[in-house]
């Protein structure tokens, strides 16, 4: 039908127009981009083709990627990144890697030199296809104008199905400028890609899982990003409530099970709650739903859950036995698997187990001191009280990220945006911008430290221009705090490369972009300043909090150590340097 439309309109399309039209047909809502020579035909098509797509000019290609990433993490839908060749494409690498590590759908379209110049070191030519192979789910170098709709449709399909991920399409300028004579709605050609198989789970494995579940006395559910991506929220809740089984989540799984639910133990892992980590050590059955057993969750692999049975549900077969050897492997979609399991579960008596956990919860609560200066934890805690658990919260990477994960409770999916696998500083603020475009009616909070914020602060212009009501929180301790914490604990407090002297006046910086700001210096100021800032809803507002310089995140499991070696408070003596992981 689409094809007929164009024939009837008697209008000849070029490759770039076919590309933009295909993106529109696929329902793409936003393109975050930055123009340049090799991409001019594609940018021109944004003007000449009438679509529903909205284009956002960011201020750096890394910003484009993180915006598309934030858009996807807030909606589950992909956005498109459109950049030029060479340095433009090169600047996307960190953003693409960030999306790949966290299974975020994204379509990156790069302009490229003309085909006959490829490999000849022509102006702004880079082998972005080769460069990105290790950091994408799949990528393409388009060689025929007529194949553009097929390639774009395949890219969208691959990016959004199975385990999602970024797909890059490199489009040489002669290909995008060439006359399009092909089919606008062609068949996909992907004989090696069968994501639909993940919706058929092995019934025998479900049987085996049920047997283990019904024998368990101390079960624990580990909810990961995969549970959220598959939309298994309701099934997860049904499973937990029927079994009376506590639930801990990964950093990226925050929200798929409401953190204010009485069965929620919050986040586990290196800086997870003490009660979640103690529960992991003491459980007799771990039901992992869509988590890849990241090294910052399992600590020392051979001691992880060594006395417990493990059920691992994952859509990606290559996650099985990668970090942890499960007793039962269920390869498939999390929601499909849980629907099958839930059909036949019955209630468990877990009262003694829940009582034990309640004891840990009382003994090791998350807490912070309100004396001795302003702490990041307090700002985050009060942010939560002012904004509530329904706001979209985007974080950067470091101490503030871990405190936000601890103190900002997330009560629904798609509300917590944080770079987990890649740990990309500079992610948080542009990701919040992407989320604000995606969800104009929701409160969006960006929480960054002074280090990460300065890595992508140029996107203040984007936020200001589009009057996006993002609450930009900068928690300033004048340090790269997490590295300083490690240096203090493991390197005899020798500080190296962590002192951010020379930080700008962040409020004046905001003013330079026409963005109002609020400054918080004392613990007593927090609530009032936050409330004033939250009254501003017609554009961005920056909240700068001057926090104490020396504070460490606890609980902490030193990297590569066993979970039972968790520190719940500052250690008395010197610690051995971490081994086995970072």
């Amino acid at each position: 039908m689409r094809n007929n439309h164009f024939r009837m309109s008697n209008k000849q399309l070029d490759g770039a127009q076919a590309l933009i039209k295909t993106l529109d047909d696929l329902g793409i809502e936003y393109i975050f981009g930055y123009s340049g020579g090799a991409a001019i035909p594609i940018f021109d098509a944004l003007v000449t083709v009438k679509t529903n797509i909205k284009f956002v000019l960011a201020r750096h290609e890394q910003g484009c990627c993180h915006m598309a990433d934030g858009y996807a993490r807030a909606t589950g839908k992909p956005a498109v990144v459109l950049v030029t060749s060479g340095p433009g494409a090169g600047n996307t690498i960190t953003g693409i890697m960030t999306a790949q590590m966290d299974s975020v759908p994204m379509i990156i379209i790069c302009g490229q030199q003309v085909t006959w110049m490829l490999g000849k070191d022509a102006f702004q030519e880079a082998d972005i296809f080769g460069i990105t192979i290790p950091v994408v789910k799949h990528n393409y170098l388009v060689k025929e104008t007529d194949s553009i709709p097929r390639v774009i449709r395949e890219a969208h399909h691959i990016s959004t199905t199975g385990r999602p991920g970024p797909v890059l399409v490199d489009v040489p300028k002669d290909i995008s400028s060439g006359l399009f004579t092909g089919d606008m709605d062609p068949e996909l050609d992907l004989p090696g890609y069968k994501p639909e198989t993940s919706y058929h789970v092995d019934a025998d494995k479900i049987d085996e899982a049920l047997q283990l579940i019904h024998k368990a006395e101390r079960p624990l559910i580990l909810a990961g990003h995969g549970a959220m991506i598959s939309g298994a929220d309701a099934e997860l809740k049904e499973l937990a409530e029927t079994l009376h089984c506590p639930v801990t989540s990964t950093l990226l799984g925050k929200g798929v099970f409401p953190e204010e639910h009485e069965l929620s133990l919050g986040m586990l892992g290196m800086h997870g709650t003490a009660y979640a980590n103690k529960a992991i050590c003491a459980c007799d059955l771990l039901i992992n739903i869509g988590s890849r057993f990241d090294d910052r969750i399992i600590g020392q692999a051979d001691k992880f859950c060594k006395d417990a049975k493990i059920i691992h549900i994952d859509i990606d077969p290559s996650e099985m036995n990668k970090m942890v050897r499960p007793d039962i492997e269920i390869v498939g979609d999390a929601k499909t698997s849980l629907v099958e399991i839930n059909k036949r579960i019955s209630s468990l008596d877990t009262d003694p187990w829940l009582n034990t956990i309640e004891g840990w919860r009382k003994k090791y609560p998350l807490s912070y001191r309100k004396q001795g200066g302003l702490r990041m934890q307090q700002v985050i805690d009060e942010l939560y009280q002012v904004a509530g658990g329904d706001a979209i919260v985007s974080t950067d990477v470091g101490q503030h990220q871990m405190w936000a994960a601890q103190f900002y409770k997330t009560n629904a999916s798609w509300k917590w945006l944080s770079s987990g696998g890649a740990g990309t500083m500079g992610f948080g603020f542009p990701a919040a911008i992407g989320a604000a475009f995606a969800c104009p009616d929701e409160t969006v909070i960006s929480i960054s430290g002074d280090g990460g914020f300065q890595m992508t602060l140029f996107e203040l212009a984007t936020a200001a221009l589009h009057k996006l009501p993002v609450k930009i929180v900068v928690l300033n301790n004048h340090y790269l705090g997490m590295v300083r914490q490690w240096q203090e604990l493991f390197f005899e407090d020798r500080k190296s490369g962590v002192d951010l002297e020379g930080n700008p006046d962040f409020c004046k910086l905001a003013a330079a972009y026409g963005i109002p700001s609020f400054n918080i210096k004392r613990p007593a100021d927090v609530r009032r300043q936050l409330e004033k800032a939250f009254e501003i809803t017609d554009g961005p507002v920056l909240i700068h909090a001057e926090c104490i310089k020396h504070d460490n995140v606890f609980p902490m499991i030193p990297a590569g150590a066993a979970l039972e070696d968790m520190l719940t408070e500052p250690p008395k003596g010197k610690l051995a340097k971490p081994t086995g992981s970072t």
């Binding site: 296809f129 080769g130 192979i133 290790p134 789910k137 799949h138 170098l141 691959i158 992907l190 004989p191 090696g192 890609y193 990606d316 077969p317 290559s318 099985m320 036995n321 990668k322």
Partner: protein, 181 residues
């Protein structure tokens, strides 16, 4: 006469080097540019070395068949097979052992041999079921095929002559009976 080659064994090589177990994988892939890069990257990232690699078009030219010999941590092998299988351009990737498959490689070996030793050289070639594919008054190229141990044994015999160069295709593998390769 002098033939220059860089492919000579090291002077003081004693015995065979300690090697990790070699595994033979058959990988069926889309016949597209860049597929080999993706597969090599998947192995290299995880510390596997590719010992041999044979790529050829499939009967349907949209596909290619690769036989890859790799050495590396045997515990990680199942994991790397899954990682390779996960690539969009890979249709399937399976490991084959010599029990369930036919393994062959082809050897070309060039050595210096004059009239005096020529008969003995021809006898060795004949013993291994090979043949002479190039003959000059001073040199000879022999071609023979077989499994890896046979090729190794033949090379040991040829070492009594002055071997100038050897070229091995690397293993090709085909599953026995009605099993798919």
């Amino acid at each position: 006469m002098s033939i220059v080659t860089t492919d000579t064994p090291p002077e003081n090589a004693s015995g065979t080097p300690v090697s990790l177990p070699v595994h033979t994988l058959s990988v069926f892939v889309n016949n597209k540019a860049g597929v080999l890069m993706r597969i090599c990257q998947a192995f290299a990232r995880r510390g596997y070395n590719i010992d041999s690699l044979v790529v050829s078009k499939g009967r349907d030219i949209h596909f290619s068949r690769m036989t890859i010999g790799i050495s590396g941590d045997p515990d990680g092998l199942a994991q790397i097979i899954l990682q390779v299988t996960k690539l969009i351009d890979v249709i399937h990737c399976v490991e084959h052992t010599s029990d369930d498959s036919v393994n062959k490689e082809l050897l070309l070996v060039k050595f210096l041999v004059d009239k005096k030793d020529r008969t003995e050289a021809l006898q060795i070639i004949d013993h291994y079921g090979g043949k002479t594919v190039d003959l000059t008054p001073t040199s000879m190229i022999a071609m023979l095929n077989g499994d890896t141990s046979k090729i190794d044994a033949a090379l040991a015999m040829f070492s009594q002559f002055e071997v100038i160069e050897t070229v091995r295709t690397g293993k090709v593998v085909m599953a026995r009976g009605e099993l798919a390769t």
